[in-house]
């Protein structure tokens, strides 16, 4: 089981909760588990089987794009954070 933190932008798709539990041995499997239960969320997170442009996914505080992407392994008790792509302040 992994904990998945939901940003305010996506909470309407999951009944308003801030965090969900999800199963899966990889980031892809975790997201597919969520998508199975919350199809509207799944439609926003994935585009053609890949992460949508404006979604960032972090595992253990690190962007999965600089790990193994959707194939990054997920271990029990880890936390996944979903964030919309934000322009950095500058």
């Amino acid at each position: 089981m992994a904990a998945v933190r939901i940003p305010p932008t996506l909470r309407a798709e999951v009944g308003g909760v801030r965090e969900l539990e999800a199963r899966g041995a990889t980031v892809r499997a975790v997201i597919e588990d969520l998508a199975g239960r919350y199809p509207q969320l799944g439609a926003l997170l994935l585009a053609g089987g890949e992460l949508a442009t404006y979604v960032n996914v972090y595992l253990g505080g690190e962007d999965v794009k600089t790990l193994d992407g959707l194939d990054t392994p997920v271990y029990d008790g880890e936390t996944i954070i979903l964030l919309p792509a934000m322009a950095g302040g500058a």
């Binding site: 404006y54 979604v55 505080g61 962007d63 322009a87 302040g89 500058a90």
Partner: protein, 315 residues
């Protein structure tokens, strides 16, 4: 851009860049891992953005795109605006900055004192809101010239030719390069320059984890990825919470006497995490500004840092 400290500049703009690099021996978790910090707060207006503002205006003047006296418009959370305000003042351009309404008062006051106009963007949309509003204003009024740091190649180029070149000239080994992720200019430009000299370097981004209050995007379609940022050229991308940033900031001040801004705390947090992963080596971190523009913030001595920071845009 390089200058000798013993020669007089003919303008404050001659003093942009050539910032000090200092070792942080009291901060490193292991004696065999040396950490160095590039002190960008020592630029003329106090931030790394002096390099970017000057490079963008120089490039626009050289190309003929920016005519004398034309009004500049830029989305900013503060530092780029303040840097542009200096360049604009000395080069004779009026300036309008689009800023989220919830940045610290110091940044707004500095901009006004420099003579810039401020247009507020929706606070809950953070920098995305400032970018979107500035793009709309520029489209509506073609007389405005928008340097637009998020998409201007002069931004990473300033860091390639300046920040990065200065760092590799000062060190004979670099294993990890860490900078804050905003527009991506420092990481793309200086990161690439460091990689040219040290091909095995790990280029790492420290990225802010904003509080819920400043993540008010209505939908993912409101998201924004700066055109100059190519995430595939980053080796690591670490999310740093407000609390971790402030812990880094306090360590920097207590151990090394360096008074940094919020993103510097995040960069130090990431640098320490990456230093822990090394047995020996050299970590270089870029500290983008000093703490002066954040003095009015309640986080310096707050017990609940996240509560003190939740509603503002910090970097």
């Amino acid at each position: 851009m390089a200058r000798s400290p013993l020669t007089a500049g003919s303008s404050l703009l001659d003093l942009v860049g050539s910032t000090p690099l200092v070792e942080l021996p009291r901060l490193t978790p292991k004696p065999a891992v040396r950490i160095f910090a590039k002190l960008e707060g020592q630029n003329p207006t106090g931030s790394i953005k002096d390099r970017v503002a000057l490079a963008m205006i120089d490039a626009a003047e050289a190309s003929g795109e920016l005519e004398p006296g034309r009004r500049l418009l830029e989305p900013t959370s503060g530092n780029t605006g303040i840097s542009l305000a200096l360049v604009a003042k000395l080069r004779g351009y009026p300036l309008t900055c689009v800023m989220p309404a919830n940045v610290t008062e110091e940044r707004r006051r500095l901009l006004r004192l420099y003579g810039a106009d401020i247009v507020d963007s929706a606070p809950e949309l953070g920098s995305n809101g400032a970018v979107r509003l500035a793009l709309e204003l520029a489209e509506r009024d073609p007389s405005l010239f928008m340097p637009f740091q998020y998409a201007n190649d002069a931004n990473p180029r300033a860091h390639h030719e300046g920040t990065g070149a200065e760092i590799v000239a000062a060190l004979d080994r670099i294993d990890v390069f860490v900078a804050g992720l905003g527009t991506g200019g420092t990481l793309m430009g200086a990161g690439e320059r460091v990689r040219e000299s040290f091909p095995d370097v790990v280029v790492a981004a420290a990225e802010p984890l904003p509080g819920d209050e400043v993540m008010g995007l209505r939908s993912l379609a409101d998201g924004y990825v700066p055109p100059i940022l190519d995430v595939s050229r980053l080796d690591r991308k670490l999310l740093v919470s407000n609390g971790e940033s402030i812990a880094g900031l306090r360590l920097l001040l207590e151990r090394e006497g360096i008074f940094g801004g919020v993103s510097s705390g995040a960069v130090v947090h990431a640098a320490l995490k990456l230093a822990e992963e090394l047995d020996e080596g050299v970590v270089v971190c870029v500290l983008a500004d000093g703490g002066w523009k954040y003095l009015s913030a309640g986080f310096w001595d707050a017990d609940d840092v996240d509560a003190a920071m939740g509603r503002s845009v910090w970097w």
